[in-house]
Symmetry: C2
Subunit: 120 residues, 2 copies
């Protein structure tokens, strides 16, 4: 974290200093390459690794693995070990991860109402 | 744009194919380094270049210039030429830019309710 955390937030009075400190890092975390689409895909329910690869065409093995580790480290997803042989693993959003639905929904709404063309 | 635009959105039924195509690029645009804080700062009102530099400690000249160009190109900010000598310029959010307040607000709300520690 850096000096930008000194940023003085006042938006809508819900932004305490603690939230300010978090805003900068959180928006850039969610905006990391592919991060948004991974969360979006997991909002539909738990997925196995290969299912995520299939549903997000264009993502590389390396970046999917990296993003899943970052999401797990920040407590936004959990690995579920399925009771099967061979052992199978699913990735599932935690409660905090699922709550991102509202943020994603407001972004989709903004796009719907404000963008006629793609952002490049 | 790449293959991820084939992604099949269904969230809350507001996501048409057009919006889907835009989601991936938009979330990564807003999550670019410093982009969130620049929009956040401009939500308080029009700012001159040096004011933005002052209010966002840690941002470099190069990145602030680059981000302002990107925001202008996407129609989210406008340059206002002030009637003064020497000529002064202010950066102001367009209507679409101002509408991002709701997205930022929902992210602040999410942080407030879901994060006790900073995302790293």
């Amino acid at each position: 974290m850096n000096d930008s955390n000194q940023f003085n937030c006042s938006i809508k009075k819900i932004a305490t200093q603690h939230i300010c400190h978090n805003f900068h890092s959180t928006i850039e975390f969610i905006g990391r390459r592919w991060m948004g689409l991974i969360v979006f895909t997991l909002l539909k329910g738990p997925k196995r690794y290969f299912e995520l690869l299939e549903e997000i065409p264009g993502i590389s093995d390396r970046l999917l693995t990296e993003r899943l580790k970052e999401l797990e480290k920040e407590g936004l997803i959990e690995k579920k070990i399925l009771n099967s042989t061979p052992r199978k693993v699913e990735y599932e959003l935690t409660a905090a991860g699922k709550n991102l639905e509202e943020v994603i929904f407001s972004l989709l709404k903004w796009i719907n109402e404000n963008r006629k063309t793609n952002i490049e």
